[in-house]
Amino acid sequence: MRSRNFQNFLSIFGSLGVAAILLFAINIVSSEVLSRFKLDLTENRLYTLSDRSVALLQSLDESITLSFFISKSELLQISGISSYASRVEDMLREFERMSNGKVSLKIVDPRPFSEAEDIAVGHGLQGIPLKSGSKLYFGLVGANSTDGVQSIPHFFLEREELLEYDLVRLIVQLDGRPRKKIGLISSLPIQGTGGAAIGPIAEQGPWTFYLQMNDIFQVEVLSPLIDSLPDDIETLFLLHPRNISESLLYEIDQFALNGNSLLLALDPHSEYLAAILEASPHLSEADVSSDLNRLTSQWGIALEEGKIVGDLPIAARVVEANDSSGRSIDYPVWMNLQPEQMNQRDVVTARLGNVVFATAGVFTIRSDASPEMTPLIRTSASAKLYDTSEFTGVVSIRELLENYQESGERMPMAVRVRGQAATAFPQGNPDSGENTPDHRAKGDIDVIMIADTDFLHDRFWVRKQQSLGQILLFSEASNGELINNAIDNLSGDNNLIGVRTRGRASRPFVLTQKIRKDAERKYLQHERKLQQELQRIEAFLTDFSSSHADSSGERIITDEQRNEIKRIRDSQLSIRKQLREVQHNLAKDIQQLENRLIMVNLALVPLLLAAAGAIVCTIGARYRERRLALRVASHLH
């Protein structure tokens, strides 16, 4: 017996060993050979190389060498990194495969004190110090045939979703294509203010979207005081254009009619300028808004002056500065635009994630306009227009929400204008006062107009985080993508657009948000009335106590008045209690929903199962006993 058990044990152990070896062998081979085969079932095919990337890779001019520095032996020391590293390696191999030989990949393990490590460090790669004393390198250096070098110092796990974009951008930069030249005229300090703080705004570096633009295009910043546009510019971006002279406006008019493309970012109310207005003596109230209606109304489209749009269902939630309860509330003029508000058939806005607009305007379009007007972004049908006057000074959000009347129509906030248009200067050049020979009266224009400028400010879409001495930028909205898509598209290059936009970043609980907004609408009015009542009572009590003191400071009150005061104090307490109830109710509906869902999931199915099980088992047991008895009986006979 003993020897049999021992034999058994040996054979079990042995077979387990063989099995382990087989398992390792099969899976090592499969991860080497089969790693690129996968079925991406996500809605936006997030994990597959986009068609645009493939197209880009197949049309490269330059030969590019990618050196992937990865400390393989140290990977296992940080959880989660080794699987990310293999995904990065997979993607790099796929780039190599798709590039028709233009991209070659080298994988380098920068061991401590090796030459490889020196090269890595020399290119700015950072080694993460590990517990064991060694360093983890996880970065990329790309070089082209003309000594151009671009690097990704470290692949941060948080940027995983943007991996493809970061890699494609690096390759595009190395490809040495002449970057398209974009002219930019801006009255906002997007290049930064040289470190000086203005008013309440401390952040004064270059705006992130501008840095991103510079990565992809050659941006020439033009002064608004120029008289003529440079000849080599084919795309012009006007950002919050103010004080444009008639001569320059004529130039822009002719520029557009001559087939060049134009991007206009206008604003009925620039949050940025409104904030620094007091601290800026050179600015006036009029500078806070911008439009180019003098020019665009000729095409059939104009920014509705003096109007700011609010959209309650997609309002951003803020905490009012003077609200001691710290509760968040809907601010209708700061909008969190969803795919539903964006044109899914236009390449600029299709599959864009959420975009944040702040105090934006709307465009009015003439029905008989001759160029084709394609709305790119529209409000929901629940939007309404506010006067800009309601936004000077301190804004009471509760007042904005009170008696919110939906307009019932979807208003355009971004429009593509394309086709035949007429000049806004039928008399010709305003300077020369007569028709010059190369004056164009008509032409095909290619314009994109956006009724907000604040969406470009970092504050509405960028979050900065310090990590390993670097500042990491996380986009919390697709604002940067929107503007860069627009410029890409206008300058005739749609390649990076498909790579950049990968769809929704967040999928919120739509139902919960709706309940929250409905509840707030119901209760907020009630709350406001109660608060007003409370204030009245408190004012009355203060008045009363101060007016009923005699010269010695003592109060003289009759019994009747005492009773009156008691009654008033009681109602004050009751109102405070009602206020607390209102605030409590706001959260109650959502809590109820959650509880109901938990009950269904947690209790319903298990209970049904228990019931079913009890039934099946008792009936079944008896049934099987009989069958077994029959079988045994048949055996015996």
Binding site: L34, S73, S82, V510, V616
Partner: protein, 249 residues
Amino acid sequence: MGMTAWLAIFRRELADYFYTPIAYVFLIIFLTLNSVLTFYVGGFFELEQADLTAFFSFHPWLYLVLAPALGMRLWAEESKTGTIQTLLTLPVSAFSAVFGKFLASWAFAAFALALTAPVWITVNYLGVPDNGAILAGYIGSLLMAGSYLSISCWASALSQNQVVAFVLGIVVGLFLTAGDITLIQDLLAPVLPQTLLEAIAGLSFLNHFEQMAKGVLTLSGVVLFVSVVAIFMYLNVAAVSANKKYAMN
């Protein structure tokens, strides 16, 4: 009997599952744990994100512990009640018996997984999730369940004692589940060479399943799960054959 032997065994075992109270206990525990972990530990309502990543993240650990419970009775109980003698002397190949039993446990696990549909419905009720990604997660979860079950079936065939089968199933499963976490790596580092350490890390179920839960069915992940099933079924057949020979003698 030949080809359809395994079908008969499959049917009998599957029916047996439904007639035993312990299966319902298992189902209730599995579903309850899934819900509790998703809603309370996974922060489903706090995050307010319409996806099931929290839900899927617990599956490997749930299977690690519960799959042995499903599989352990398949062979060990037969040994105890003596019916194994009957089974082994029948003109049924070891392969049929193993395959039939394994398939029954897998079908039952599929049933349990299907019963988690309320969570999927809930997340669609609350928002607009990526249903393609969720589908990939379910497919991956089913494959992974098969892997864990094949291990526990084998463990069950090795020992007459259900508890031993249970523990063995968990231990082997653990190495395959989380081979790349620092705890296991540190544990094995003094004993095994670097290449083996990396190989074990590469087998990590957690890693491969994580990809599937995100929506990508990787071929290497599918190969991993299927190869585990194949190898442990083979071991299972070997163990049963040995027992068979002994029983025949």
